[in-house]
Amino acid sequence: MSTKFHNEGLAHEVEYPALNDYHGHPNYLKVYITLLLLFGISLVASYLNNFLLMVTIVFLVSTLKALLVINYFMHLKWEPIPLQIIIYMALFALAALIIGVYFDVTVVPRDVYTP
């Protein structure tokens, strides 16, 4: 067999966890409880009368929840930076899309011509 240098072959051939691939272990229970608390906040917020305030709170909380999940449960925080950039680029693409389309789909007079 030839000499092999690098990570190669199918992933299951590699010893687990792979060498050099250590990421820290946050206290999952703490994160979980925070998530539940945030979830509670968004539920309570949904009974607010002020629509704008409610929407802001709810979506801030969702974003926070998503960040917690992606950073701690999915360990994105401990992944290489190029990978993080790739993931967040996806969000950039979506932001560009929604800003570009907003004026054409949302801010137009509603008008349907029927004969």
Binding site: V108, P109, D111, V112, Y113, P115
Partner: protein, 223 residues
Amino acid sequence: MNFFPESNSSIALEIDNLFWIITGVVGIATVITLFLFVYPMITRKKKRTKIERYMVDFTHKHRIWLYTGMFLLLMGDLYILVKEHSIWQRVEQELPEPDFKIAIVGKQWMWEIIYPGPDGKLYTDDDVSAINNLHLPVNRVIHMDLKALDVIHSVFLPQSRFKQDVLPGRTITRWIKLNKEGKFDITCAEICGLGHSMMRGNLFVESEEEWKDSMDKIYGIKK
């Protein structure tokens, strides 16, 4: 050889001019690039030392050359943008006071033209509609409410350099000012199904009196 068809609207010449401005910017860029393309091919057989060929370092000098090229194009781009912006604003973003208002509705596969009735107001009961033949007065600002009934069409008046897609679900108002009498074309520039290539209309640009006559005819037939 003429490059554009005859023109009949106030913006047509501006659009044609813009084409030549852009072509000028592009022309200069083409000449420079063409030189960079052809020169190395002509001089390829020249004896050169290895050091001369080996340009592995991307030095400050090289960077400046590259930036200069990009900067020149940026200047050209900005020139184009400055030139076009005011035209775009006038054509698409501003609506001058109308002398006359009509509506054009794209249907499969015809143009329905809705003229305001004798009261001069659109969308009242005395509106008159005609198929495919659009009569407009010369030298008047005309507002067109563009709509579609079934699928997307596109009102394209080649001689007026006017084009606007019409979509079901929205009304788009554009203005036009024609400055030449005659018979011109209305075409559909967005594929709209089987009869797309038969979807043709006529634009008659007429002097004030002729136009009044033809409008009377249109109203008369309906009355």
